[in-house]
């Protein structure tokens, strides 16, 4: 059964090739939709079958590597020569990610059939989506760094293609200079910022190769297991890898692309920019946990960056008015939590949050997509309100998602987020401060998520009834919503902690993966403490307070929000302008580079210096020739005179000598 692993990857590839080559001529949305989502569904089935088989096996037999063919090798036959193959590694971690990618991916494909109905680029959309699933599966199933990098850049490409899917449309950039930009700008920004991250990943990979003389996970991790903790090389290696993660997973300082990425169609935001691709960084850190375990300094940095991102993005999310932007910042914030978990060596908790987040964030995005669809492409929540009457299913599922992300038990988000917060508090690598930031962020999350829910679905109807007639989404869209809502409710049960009489099944399932790292870090399985209950109650209390606050401000005393906006105008402006990060980057990197290239390098060095010298040489030669050629008068007698003069001089010289 394990040997079928390549089939998981193959199906979406076939779908991509079929749709890419023939899609434009098919002219049949039904067929395209079936092929597009069917291939992903098949992958999901195969993955499930493998997963079920895995369940029946003892933990040490749950891993297998299927090698397909040699990919890049130097073939020189010396001991250090490079040899990387296309091979897929099935183990507890990768199968979990595969299930998320194909499962959630399948639902979003189905949803897209309804969402993209009537779009002239229907076939193109599914082509890109299938390519994305293919790349993402390569990322999670790869058995070596290079193939992972293929997936890593591949998903970046699909992200690029899909953000700019409606390449002739504009979107609201918001912020400092409110205005519009073409979706192509957002797509390019996403790709380039990801490339900056990939630059780090690439260098990290080189360092791994130099250090461990291999790029295969098994070999590298095996050799890493005997390395001492805290070496400088390991710190650099892991930091470089983490730079890659900050790009892909939208962490400080590279998160600025993700909010703009909302310019893409909503299913894309759900699939790529919420559920799967952006968690790739977390997955990578988890996969390389042993490497990160060797560099506690890096872990500290990751924890701090994660916590800061969590709180920073959450505060920005407080004031945004675009329904998708709010969700985007919420995604950045939640990713921050995942990295916080990684940083405090709670790898299992981080992956747990990846899982639950995939459910409820996909749900929220798809819900927002249904709303946008119903509102005729309106995304401003100030122009919505009262939609629950028109779209009950969407409302209910959206609400479930909001509760889940807010962290109210027994919804999925509660378990995973609480696990992270507890680890941030209790782990040797955590601290009270990290925990406090996390809890504060959780409160803000609850507040802005309910602000969003209330402004969208409750209260008075602020939209123009003459033009907009909200309606419930078609079945292809609501069914995925319902399924995801169900998962958002029960999804947390896979990781109920011991303190709540659960066995923490997920952590045990992943235990073999993280065991080497945890033993390096000397992290002991913790025992139930009273503190844990106290903290749990505290965090739920703060989340409830956030929800209550949101209801108070946006439902009962609506004048408050406008009042605060005036009173704290300075803070509001900073948040509204996303801490001016885009502007800072623009002023620091983008414009200087362009100016340098244009005026100094091109028109300066190239034209004014090098070409000047080249042409100058030519001119100098021409100038000399201009004067020297005067000797050539054309009068033959003058030539003869010079000739005779020359002879006379030579004769004299011979005589004197």
């Amino acid at each position: 059964m394990f040997s079928l692993a390549p089939a998981i990857v193959l199906f979406p590839l076939l779908g991509f090739l079929f749709l890419g080559l023939f899609g434009s001529r098919l002219n049949n949305e039904r067929l395209i939709g079936i092929v597009g989502s069917g291939t992903v569904g098949l992958s999901f089935l195969v993955a499930t079958a493998i997963f079920i088989e895995m369940l029946g096996l003892p933990p040490e037999q749950r891993k297998e590597i299927v090698q397909l063919f040699a990919w890049i090798g130097t073939f020189t036959g010396t001991s250090t020569s490079l040899s990387v193959s296309v091979g897929y590694q099935i183990d507890q971690l990768s199968i979990l990610m595969t299930l998320i990618v194909t499962g959630v991916g399948f639902l979003i494909h189905v949803y897209s059939i309804g969402y993209m109905h009537g779009d002239p680029g229907f076939w193109r959309f599914f082509t890109y989506l299938n390519l994305f699933i293919f790349a993402m599966l390569n990322l999670v199933l790869a058995d070596n760094f290079l193939l992972m990098f293929l997936g890593w850049e591949g998903v970046g490409l699909c992200s690029y293609l899909l953000i700019g899917f409606w390449y002739d449309r504009k979107f609201e950039t918001g912020g400092y200079k409110p205005g519009t930009a073409y979706t192509g700008d957002a797509a390019k920004k996403a790709f380039i910022i990801n490339r900056i991250g990939d630059f780090g990943f690439l260098l990290g990979m080189f360092l791994i190769y130099v250090q461990f003389e291999s790029l295969n996970f098994d070999t590298v991790f095996g050799r890493a297991a005997v390395v001492n903790v805290g070496g400088e090389v390991m710190t650099w290696m892991t930091l470089l890898l983490f730079i890659g993660a900050t790009g892909k997973s939208a962490q400080i300082p590279l998160f600025v692309w993700l909010p703009d990425a909302m310019a893409g169609p909503t299913p894309v935001s759900a699939l790529i920019h919420a559920a799967t691709m952006v968690t790739a960084g977390v997955y990578m850190v988890a996969r390389c946990s042993i490497l990160f375990a060797l560099a506690p300094t890096t872990l500290q940095i990751i924890a701090v960056i994660g916590a800061l991102t969590a709180i920073m993005a959450a505060t920005i999310g407080l004031v945004q008015n675009d329904i998708k932007k709010v969700l985007a910042y919420s995604t950045v914030s939640q990713l921050g939590y995942m990295f916080l978990a990684m940083g405090v060596a709670a790898f299992g908790a981080g992956i747990f949050h990846v899982t639950t987040h995939a459910f409820f964030k996909a749900l929220l995005f798809l819900g927002s997509g249904a709303v946008i669809h119903a509102m005729h492409e309106e995304q401003d929540i100030q122009k919505m309100g009262g939609l629950k009457k028109y779209m009950p299913t969407t409302y209910k599922t959206f609400l479930i998602g909001a509760i889940a992300i807010a962290g109210i038990p027994p919804f999925a988000g509660f378990f995973s987020k609480d696990e992270i917060l507890w680890k941030a508090f209790s782990s040797d690598y955590g601290s009270v401060l990290l925990w406090a930031i996390g809890v504060l962020g959780a409160g803000i999350t609850a507040f802005y998520m309910f602000r969003l829910t209330i402004l969208t679905f409750e209260g008075e109807e602020r939209f123009d009834h003459r033009h907009i007639h909200p309606h419930e989404a078609p079945r292809t869209m609501t069914i995925p919503l319902i399924v995801l809502a169900g998962l958002s409710i029960v999804g947390g049960f896979i990781g109920i902690p011991q303190s709540l009489m659960g066995g923490n099944a997920l952590e045990q399932w992943l235990e073999p993966i993280f065991a080497p790292a945890l033993s390096k870090l000397r992290v002991m399985p913790h025992h139930v403490e009273v503190t844990e209950y106290i903290l749990m109650v505290l965090s739920v209390g703060i989340a409830l307070a956030g929800i209550y606050g949101a209801r108070l401000v946006y439902l009962r005393r609506q004048e408050l929000s406008a009042l605060w906006q005036q009173k704290y105008a300075r803070i509001y402006n900073i948040l509204w302008n996303k801490y001016y990060l885009d502007e800072v980057y623009d002023a620091l990197f983008v414009r200087p580079t362009l100016r340098l290239s244009n005026s100094l390098l091109w028109k300066g060095v190239d034209v004014a210096v090098i070409d000047w010298m080249v042409n100058g040489t030519a001119t100098a030669v021409a100038w000399c020739a201009f004067w020297v050629r005067r000797v050539q008068t054309g009068v033959a007698q003058m030539y003869a005179t010079v000739l005779v003069g020359g002879i006379v001089v030579i004769l004299f010289w011979l005589m004197i000598k």
Partner: protein
């Protein structure tokens, strides 16, 4: 007979086409086109015979042919190929028919002469890659210069004369120094115990490394300057944007696809193995220049307004990678450099073809004249996207394999002895994404121009002929990206042997002849 002379046959076969063209009237346009295209296609088939007859397990040169040519000077007609030459020869013969087919209707003025020039050019190019005698190499090297000069000068754009002369003078300047060095090398061969004047490369491989460092230095500089101009290495690159922009499309394709490779080919074939000690001495300098070229080319490409010029500057950046990989002197670096040569030939060749196709339609190459083309020419936009991605080194396509191996090779190289080369070079990967995607966005994305006209013309999507030209390139782009081992296994012996000889030279494996008389 045929099998033993297959290499010479490949080299000189295009001359058959030239002969046939001489017999054709100059206004029978179709016949001229088909003779040109057919000849180059047959040459490609001949080179395929080389490709499939090539034995990758042998480290020595294959398909050797040797005949005494100038007896007094011990100069012979000596050709033969190894993995490196093989790939470049096949690349040459592959690109030439595609370039001709891709610009089927672009040339109308003096078509017959144009075709003859292209075919003569092909002879020169294949000959350069096959020559194993330095004198013969020099002859081919100069022989290919002349048709290129005319192609730019006669069929070029507005400033073609300036560009052609610039191109010619730059190249000639370097190659004359190389000629002096070739003769000097032959002379030194005669000063060796029991030696005689020779320009046989294989014999000189034993002579060069044994020379004193001071002698090696001068000869290395003479060779390296000639090759660096051809590559082109910063700051010797300014002929390239002019030549590329002014050359007709097929000329640009060949120029970028093949001619630039001659520089890097020369570095690997001659500079390193002939003068290893001097190479070590100049490794830091050349690597720094290569890294500067990578970043500089990318930055300058970023602000270009003319698509063709942008692609030209991107070549400076890409070839910088090749030089860096070469001077890393590791297996990965050399392998990467070789495969990057092929990659650059494919993707930049294709980019020039694509630019030519749009130029034929809109008669403009200014980026600002476009926008929203993806809607008007979806097939064109798709091809452009694939080639763009190949050019910026997306894993799974060819560009990545080369860049990855080069960067990896330079990272672990003991010769470069610093990670900073790689770190700075790798920023080129970021910049590549910036300039290519920005250009793609401004040309392809966004709304269609309000009047629907580009450069005042109505444009239509690719014709079947143009698709036929592009599909093979895309297939190779994907093939090399997914299964580069086909090529890597061919070039492995070259890389291995070179690295080993460099290593042994570094450890002082050669006995120096200290008292070589100075010329």
């Amino acid at each position: 007979m045929l099998t033993s002379n297959i290499l010479s046959l490949t080299i000189f076969f295009p001359l058959v086409g030239v002969g046939a063209l001489l017999a054709v009237k100059k206004d029978s346009v179709t016949a001229i086109k088909w003779i040109g295209f057919g000849t180059s296609l047959l040459t490609f088939l001949l080179s395929l015979a080389l490709y499939f007859g090539f034995d990758p397990s042998v480290t020595e040169f294959q398909f050797r042919e040797k005949a005494m040519w100038i007896e007094q000077l011990n100069i012979s007609y000596f050709v033969g190929i190894d993995g490196l030459s093989l790939l470049l020869i096949v690349l040459t013969t592959f690109l030439t028919p595609l370039a001709l087919l891709g610009t089927w209707d672009s040339i109308s003025h003096r078509l017959k002469e144009y075709m003859m020039m292209m075919l003569v050019l092909e002879v020169g190019m294949v000959g350069v890659f096959a020559a194993l005698d330095l004198f013969l190499f020099y002859i081919f090297w100069e022989a290919m210069l002349i048709p290129m000069y005319f192609i730019i000068g006669i069929w070029g754009g507005q400033e073609r004369i300036y560009a052609a002369v610039k191109f010619f003078l730059f190249t000639l300047f370097g190659s004359l120094l190389m000629l002096v060095a070739i003769l000097a090398l032959g002379y030194y061969a005669s000063t060796m115990p029991g030696g005689m004047f020779t320009t046989d490369l294989l014999a000189l491989y034993d002579v060069g490394p044994r020379l004193a460092l001071s002698v090696q230095t001068w000869m290395f500089l003479a060779f390296a300057l000639s090759f660096a101009i051809k590559v082109p290495l910063f700051p010797l690159h300014t002929w390239l944007p002019d030549a590329h922009v002014q050359a007709p499309t097929a000329g640009s394709v060949i120029l970028a696809g093949v001619l630039l490779k001659m520089g890097t080919y020369g570095l690997i074939r001659f500079c390193l193995p002939l003068f290893p000690d001097a190479s070590f001495k100049f490794t830091p300098l050349l690597s720094v220049l290569a890294v500067i070229g990578i970043i500089y080319g990318a930055l300058v490409a970023m602000v270009q307004t003319d698509i063709k010029k942008l692609v030209a500057y991107s070549s400076v950046s890409h070839l910088g990678f090749v030089v860096l990989g070469t001077f890393a002197m590791t297996e990965e670096g050399i392998q990467g450099a070789i495969i990057q040569m092929v990659n650059h030939g494919l993707s930049t060749g294709a980019l020039f073809l694509l630019v030519g196709m749009i130029y034929d339609r809109a008669h403009t190459r200014m980026i600002s004249d476009f926008g929203g083309l993806a809607k008007v020419m979806p097939v064109y936009a798709t091809f452009f996207m694939i080639i763009t991605l190949s050019s910026i080194g997306l894993p799974g396509l060819n560009g990545f394999v080369g860049e990855f191996l080069i960067l990896l090779g330079s990272f672990k190289s003991g010769f470069l002895a610093s990670y900073w080369y790689t770190v700075f070079a790798a920023t080129g990967v970021i910049f590549a994404a910036v300039y290519m995607l920005w250009m793609y966005q401004r040309v392809m994305l966004g709304p269609v121009r309000s009047d629907g006209l580009y450069g005042g013309h109505k444009v239509s999507d690719l014709t079947r002929r143009e698709i036929v030209v592009l599909v093979p390139i895309v297939l190779f782009v994907v093939w090399i990206g997914v299964y580069p081992n086909t090529l890597l296994s061919k070039t492995a012996p070259v890389a291995k042997q070179l690295v080993q000889s460099m290593e042994s030279a570094r450890q002082g494996g050669h006995t120096r002849v200290a008292d070589v008389p100075q010329p």
